[in-house]
Every structure is written in C-alpha cells, then in structure tokens.
C-alpha cells in the first residue's frame, strides 16, 4: 500500500494543477501579513473596544497567533476549493488519460488502488494546510512576533503563548481532518466521471449550498442543519475554547467521519463496477 501511495504522490506532485493552492497561499499570505503589519491598528482598536469595559489594554494584542486566527476565519470557505484541485483528478484523470488500461490490468485490487489514491489526496490536503500554517504561524511569527492569543467569541479567552502554540496545533489538526472530508467528497465525484472539472463543481456546489442553508435563519433550514456536513466544518474553532470541548469535538469528527465513510463507500461501489472503456 505504501508503494501505491508513493505512486499517487508522484503523480500529484507532477501535475501543475497541484501547485495552484501552494502558489495561491504563497501570494496571498505575504500580502495579508504585510497588511497586518501596516494596517493592524483598526483591528487593535476593535479588539480594545471590545475588551475596554473589562480590561485595560497595554501594548499590542496583535501577533502571529491572532493573525492566524483571523486568517483561518477568513479563508475557511475558500480552502476547500484548493483541496478539491488535487482530489478531483485523483481518479477521473486516470480514466480520461487511459492510465487505467495499464494500472487496472495488474494483479492489484481496484479497492487498493482507490484507497491509495484517497490517502494520497489526504497527504496533499494535509500538506496544503501545513503550508498555510507555515506561512501564518512560521513566517507570521517572524514578521508580527508572538505573544498571548486573545480570542473573542462568546466570551474573552486569553491564552498564554505556550498554550497558543498547542491550540494552534490542535486547530490546524482539526482543520486538516475537516478538509480530508472535503477531499473525500470530491474524490467520490472523481470516481464517477472521466473529467477533472466535474468533481470540483459537484463538491463546491454541495459545500456552498450547505453554507447557504446554515446561514439563512429559516425554520426548515434550522431543522435540516444537523444533517449537513458543513454544519461541523467549524470544529477547528473548538480548539480555541476554554475548556476544550472534547466531547463536542469527538461528536463533530464522528459525524464527519461517517460522511467520509459514506462518500468513500459510494466511490468504491462505483469504481469496482466501472467498465473501463476509454
């Protein structure tokens, strides 16, 4: 299986499309960090206003942790698109390029081949988010410095620097798991078609419709909200709550895991019965 995953990673790293996400992040993050360096006063004022009644703010609360937290909030809807760029081609491209005529005639089961493709997509997804973390936390720490992290959600949470690192690691880990679910969704569509664009459209359509449903306050939408996978996409935010709601995290990850298993099951069912005619 490791050999098969290595094969798939070779294919992913050889495709120019796989680098769009990394290039995009490499362009966007310096701009954001530059913007934070020279335009952080308004954010600082906003935070100070919210804290003003209870705290006396001395110095700057703005650092790489807060910047990362803000960036994650802002980019959360867009990252799935970058993730789908690799997952969409995982199966479909081999079909359209005629590669299956060579790989599926070898003494390796289709299920193994499919699983290796999915796991390679997960590795790509994890690499993309780690790259994002490298920019926002790594380069961000050099540019903006570090310090305590102040999170204003339903209350005010102040995390010491050492805690902030741990929470960021947990946050990114949860984000990777969520994005792996997005990759599985796209992968399912990839197993159904022979072109790499359809799966991106299919996956993004479901995600956008899901976001619309949970953002519109209608009774009917509220009733179906618990059944939508996008409802649980914000699990990474739980890493910045005190105490960390492990039960909630477990429940949300469990639901996302069930969705991923269902998508993978459908992909395996379709792929195992697929006649390779191209």
């Amino acid at each position: 299986m490791i050999g098969l995953i290595k094969n798939e990673l070779l294919v992913i790293t050889g495709r120019w499309r796989s680098y769009i996400g990394f290039v995009g992040i490499s362009i966007l993050m310096p701009l954001i960090l530059w913007g934070f360096t020279y335009g952080s006063e308004s954010i600082h004022e906003q935070y100070s206003r919210q804290l003003g009644g209870s705290f006396m703010v001395v110095g700057s609360i703005f650092n790489s942790f807060l910047a990362t937290y803000i960036i994650m909030n802002a980019l959360w809807i867009h990252i799935p698109f970058l993730v789908t760029l690799a997952a969409s081609d995982a199966v479909a491209a081999d079909g359209s390029n005629g590669i299956f005529r060579i790989t599926l005639t070898r003494p390796v089961s289709r299920l193994k081949i499919l699983t290796s493709k999915l796991l390679a997509s997960y590795v790509y997804t994890a690499a993309l988010l780690i790259f994002c973390a490298f920019w926002s936390l790594g380069v961000g720490s050099l540019v903006l410095g570090t310090g305590d992290l102040i999170v204003i959600d339903k209350g005010i949470l102040i995390l010491e620097q050492s805690q902030a690192w741990l929470r960021m690691a947990l946050g990114f880990s949860l984000a990777i798991l969520v994005m792996c679910m997005v990759a599985t969704l796209c992968f399912m569509f990839s197993a159904m078609v022979n072109n790499g664009v359809g799966p991106i459209i299919g996956a993004m359509f479901l995600i956008i419709v899901g976001y619309l449903v949970i953002s519109i306050p209608l009774d009917f939408f509220n009733k179906i909200e618990p059944y939508l996978f996008v409802t649980y996409f914000d699990v990474w935010m739980d890493a910045f709550k005190e105490p960390i709601p492990w039960n909630d995290i477990g429940k949300k990850l469990g639901i996302l895991f069930l969705y991923s298993s269902m998508f993978y099951g459908i992909a395996a069912f379709v792929f195992n019965r697929k006649d390779i005619k191209t």
């Binding site: 050999g3 070779l10 294919v11 050889g14 005629g98 060579i102 070898r106 003494p107």
Partner: protein, 301 residues
C-alpha cells in the same frame, strides 16, 4: 493457459460479445481477428478485468478472473490498444510505478527498456515520445512482470514498418522463450506471419478458430506466386480470364488470386503461349480466409 467460457457482454441493446468460447493453448501465439466493432477489444477488456462480463467467465491458468479478480492476472502482461502513460513523468518513473504494483524488482526496468529499444530514452519524459515509442513503452510495461501470458491488443498501432518488424521479431523471440501470446490485430499479413493459432469473430460471435495451418486449408482461393520470363505478356494473357480474381505484378513474377484446381490450367496456358515458367509457389492468405469467413470485403479496415 487462457480460456473464455460462454462470454457475453451487452452495451444497451447492442450485444458486443455473444457466448464466446476461446481456448488459447500454452506456448501458442494466438491471433484474434475481426472487423471493427466485432467485439475484439471488449473481449480483451473482459480478459483483463477492465470490463465485467454479463455472462460467462475468463480463466487464466485455471483461475477465474471474475472470481479471483485481479489476483488472477498475476503473471499476465497486457497492452490494451494505445499505450498511455503519465506524460509528465519519465518512462523510467512510469515503469518504476508499475513495478511497485507488480512487486517486480527495479532491475527488470533496465531489461525491458533495453529489450524494446528504449534504454537511451528511459529518463526522458513520456510527453517527448513519438507514438511509436509510446507503443514500445507499452510493450515494455507488459513485459515488466516477466509474464507467462502476454495479451496484446493492436500492438503495432502507430508503428512504422521498421517498428512493426521489430515488434514482430520481439513477439517471435518471446514466443520462443515459451511465453503464450494472445494478439489482436487488423494486419492479417502480420498475424499470418507470427501466429500459430487464430480465431475470427464477427458481431461478437466466433466464426472460426484453430491452428493457422488448419485455417489456411479452409481457403478456396490461394495467392499463387508465378515467376516467368515475360511478365507483361503473361499478364495480358491471364487478365481477361474470369477465373483469375486478381493479378499483382513485380519485376519477374506475378501474384495471382486463383482457385486451387485452376492452377494446372493456368500453367498449361502460359507454357502453350511460349512463356517460360520458372516457379509456381501457392501461398495461402489469411486475408482470403478472413474475407470468405466474414463475407464482406468492405469490413476490413
């Protein structure tokens, strides 16, 4: 070595393969012939588990492909139609990936590249390859697992005459090493040259099969090569005759399509008209067998 039992497959209402029974003996070079759309590719894809049959089974060394899945394909090398690879990767990298799937040792890669004449281009990306080179790489990947059975679907597609000869020679060499080869091709002359056995199918059904010599004996019309001293005079004499089907001329000989029983009459006629006949060599043609079995010349592509 390879056997199909009552193999059938439909696409919608069209029956692509209809109750096909084939038996490929061990060590044979088996030609699989049929006009376009006759079900050759569908049959080969069912043999290699790319397509599931509606009915029937394929057995490789006694193991059912449908029952054992891809495990039954162990020791089988296949090239199905056009050879496609990851174009952005080198030939070697592509073969390394496939070797990992087969569990083949990496040193086999150099061997198959050498065997297919690609050893000096192994590090080049596949996108820089000509169609002929890709096809040779296709044969290289089929040889990677040191197969006992080779299934080749139109292996000479895209090759120039020199390339075709090289592939033909390679198939001959592999056959002499004891590898069983199942090969589909439109090039009947080529199949006749390299195959020990053949089967002809049409509209998914078996028309005829057997050893090449048995098949050629079925033909009523033979091509006869006649070497004479006056080629043009012989041509003028034979052309008007209704029992001569076709004449092709060369410098000192004629290729004449003629029924077997008419050959003595033709020789007598030539000699009576003072044309010296040096040799008469009857050559049975698979093309004639194919056409008489299929029943329509126009179907040949």
């Amino acid at each position: 070595m390879l056997e199909t039992k009552n193999l059938s497959k439909s696409f919608g209402i069209r029956k692509a393969v209809d109750n096909l029974n084939l038996e490929i003996p061990k060590g044979s070079v088996y030609g699989f012939l049929g006009p376009n759309g006759s079900g050759k590719s569908t049959t080969i894809r069912m043999m290699t588990s790319l397509i599931s049959p509606d009915e029937g089974e394929v057995f490789i060394r006694g193991k059912s492909v449908q029952k054992y899945g891809n495990k039954a394909l162990s020791g089988v090398g296949a090239l199905i139609e056009r050879a496609d690879f990851h174009k952005h990767l080198s030939a070697k990298t592509n073969l390394e990936m496939l070797a990992r799937m087969d569990g083949t040792k990496p040193d086999r890669i150099e061997y198959v590249l050498k065997r297919t004449g690609l050893s000096n281009r192994g590090n080049d990306k596949v996108k820089t390859y000509s169609q002929g080179m890709k096809q040779r790489l296709g044969i290289a990947q089929a040889l990677l697992s040191d197969p006992a059975l080779l299934i080749l679907d139109e292996p000479t597609n895209g090759l120039d005459p020199q390339g075709m000869k090289e592939v033909r020679d390679l198939i001959g060499e592999l056959s002499s090493e004891g590898i069983t080869i199942f090969i589909s091709s439109h090039l009947l002359d080529e199949v006749q040259k390299i195959c020990s056995h053949a089967a002809i199918i049409n509209t998914g059904k078996m028309i005829t099969s057997g050893s090449m010599s048995t098949l050629l004996k079925q033909s009523d019309v033979f091509v006869t090569e006649i070497t004479v001293d006056q080629v043009s005079k012989a041509n003028e004499l034979l052309s008007p005759l209704h029992w001569i089907h076709r004449i092709d001329l060369s410098d000192d000989s004629l290729s004449v399509n003629i029924e077997n029983e008419k050959i003595p009459e033709m020789i007598r006629l030539l000699v009576q008209n003072n044309i010296q006949v040096s040799s008469v060599i009857p050559r049975a043609s698979l093309e004639e067998v194919f056409l008489s079995e299929i029943g329509a010349e126009s179907v040949i592509s």
